[in-house]
Amino acid sequence: MSRMTGMLRRPWALVAVVAALQTAALGWMVFDRNRILSSGTEVVLPVIPVDPRSLFQGDYVRLGYTINQVQQSADARVTRTPVYVVLSKGADGTWGPVGEPSVQWPKAVPQGALVLAGTQQWSQATFGIETFFVPEGKGPELEKLIGDKKLSAAVRVDASGRAALAGLLVDGQPAYREPWY
């Protein structure tokens, strides 16, 4: 059953195709993130403690937001379903949810507000902005800031509601913000 293996007729062309396609896939990931970060609208969300016992796992910090907790709607089954949250800017400069999250793109979005798209499972909604990677050993420092409620996240949201974490703010001042490229 085994065929004669390994002897390639055009090895150079083939390895180039493999390397090029894999590089293209990585390039697309980077491009996609940067598109959101550069063209998206920036919102600032207060970060709340997720789990007071163990916030720090390995090399990243889990970030919790008020919008993560949603009512378990009748449509939200065990499987992951889309969820949309309307955000508007509050008096203190941070953004917060308006009304209840919906399973469809909201029909009416108030002036100055925007829509954040995420995924819901049970009563937990995620938006792809819940982890912040830190250098080895730097986690506890951030954990403490989250515990003291001093931390907020700068998030860029594009027109389709997809979000990317742009950086973190401590007491409203930018910190932990690195160049995108």
């Binding site: 085994s2 293996t5 390895v15 390397a19 250098p135």
Partner: protein, 382 residues
């Protein structure tokens, strides 16, 4: 690389054939030279190269995980992509020099670097929430390398990543992961059309068996084992009854596909039957020891499972399918041990059950021996 011991066996056979006059001395030399050229014995070098590549992959992944700040993040990605190109260039260099065994190691390193780069991009942009999507992309890259570069190592990586992918999805949703079937079919077709490397195909079949068995734990709120058992029995029955037709349809020689399929079918069927009897999440059978985990009478299910196992062992012996026979023996032992633990506490009944079952199986052994003797006698007459 030659199949294990093939050269040694061939050399011994050639000496015998030359002595008997079937092969001329020139022919003997020519055959040995051909085998030596075709299956270059490189010893342990390619094995060490592949193991080295695995270690390098882990080293790179840990480098990514350490999130080293002294190098700008985008430069780290650049290093990884440059390494990826260098790995594939090395693979091309070895292929051009007709050294596919070493090209394997370089290809595997390339696939590992691709995965590490995906992780790094995730870290770079603080992507959260969907590790399964990253694994799926990685698996696609591994399958690409496996298909285009005819790489066994990349094939193994792709199959392993498919297993990781479906496990992540299952843990996340606790629902059947149907998309897996499409990816599995693509992986199988890819191998069938290119390498047809036996261990790779076995690994791919094991992956499907794993997914099917896991299906029982997510269907019907975790009690879908009947479906698993029926699928396994169907595969077992079809491969035993329609074996030659299946093999011809797929264009292989007799038994190449249907024999392993029967063994995998039995494995899946038994896993389903076992879970139906003993994997109890609803608390049914703890109250009543003679009730199976799915609420059916345990004696009925156990008798059915044992009958399937014994029939499989029998067919395995009849048709010279040792894998099927051995799997049936293993299944038989597991079933008996599980029955023993389940019925523990009513020792007299358990003892009676084992005495009756043992008597029946011994009677079957006597019957088989008698049939075997008759068949041998008939064979001697004709």
């Amino acid at each position: 690389v030659a199949p294990l011991g093939y050269r040694k066996r061939l050399e011994a056979d050639l000496v015998r054939w030359a002595e008997a006059g079937h092969v001329s001395p020139q022919g003997q030399r020519a055959i040995l030279a051909d085998v030596a050229a075709r299956y270059q014995n490189l010893g342990i070098a390619p094995v060490l190269a592949v193991l080295g590549a695995v270690l390098l992959c882990f080293g790179v992944m840990l480098f990514v995980a350490s999130n080293w700040q002294d190098m700008p993040r985008i430069a780290r990605l650049g290093v990884l992509v440059a390494g990826l190109w260098a790995a594939y260039a090395t693979a091309g260099w070895f292929h051009a020099r007709r050294q596919p065994a070493f090209a394997e190691a370089a290809t595997l390193f390339g696939v590992g670097l691709f995965g590490a780069a995906i992780m790094l991009v995730g870290q770079l942009y603080n992507l959260s929430s969907d590790p399964a999507a990253g694994v799926l992309l990685w698996l696609g890259g591994a399958a690409l390398a496996a298909g285009l570069l005819r790489s066994k190592a990349a094939t193994v990586a792709a199959v392993a990543l498919a297993g990781l992918w479906t496990t992540l999805e299952l843990n996340q949703t606790n629902e059947p992961h149907w998309w897996f079937l499409a990816v599995w079919a693509a992986l199988f077709a890819l191998q069938w059309l290119t390498l047809r490397w036996r261990p790779g195909l076995h690994l791919t079949a094991m992956l499907l068996a794993y997914w099917l068995i896991a299906l029982g734990y997510v269907l019907n709120g975790g009690q879908g084992h009947e479906v698993v058992a029926i699928i396994g029995l169907a595969v077992l029955g079809l491969s035993l009854l329609g074996g030659p037709a299946i093999d011809q349809g797929m264009g292989t020689h007799d038994g190449a596909l249907s024999r392993p399929a029967a063994a995998y079918g039995l494995t899946v069927a038994f896993a389903g039957l076992f879970a139906m009897q003993f994997i109890d999440w609803s608390g049914f059978s703890y109250a009543t020891p003679w009730m199976a985990a799915n609420g059916m009478p345990l004696a009925f299910l156990a008798a059915f499972a044992l009958a399937v196992l014994l029939a499989s062992a029998w067919v395995g012996v009849q048709r010279n399918m040792p894998a099927l026979t051995w799997l049936a023996y293993i299944g038989f032992s597991l079933e008996i041990v599980a029955l023993y633990f389940r019925t523990l506490g009513t020792l007299l009944d358990t003892s009676l059950f084992f005495l009756v079952a043992g008597g029946l199986v011994c009677a079957l052994a006597a019957l088989a021996w008698w049939l075997h003797g008759r068949a041998a006698a008939e064979g001697a007459v004709t």
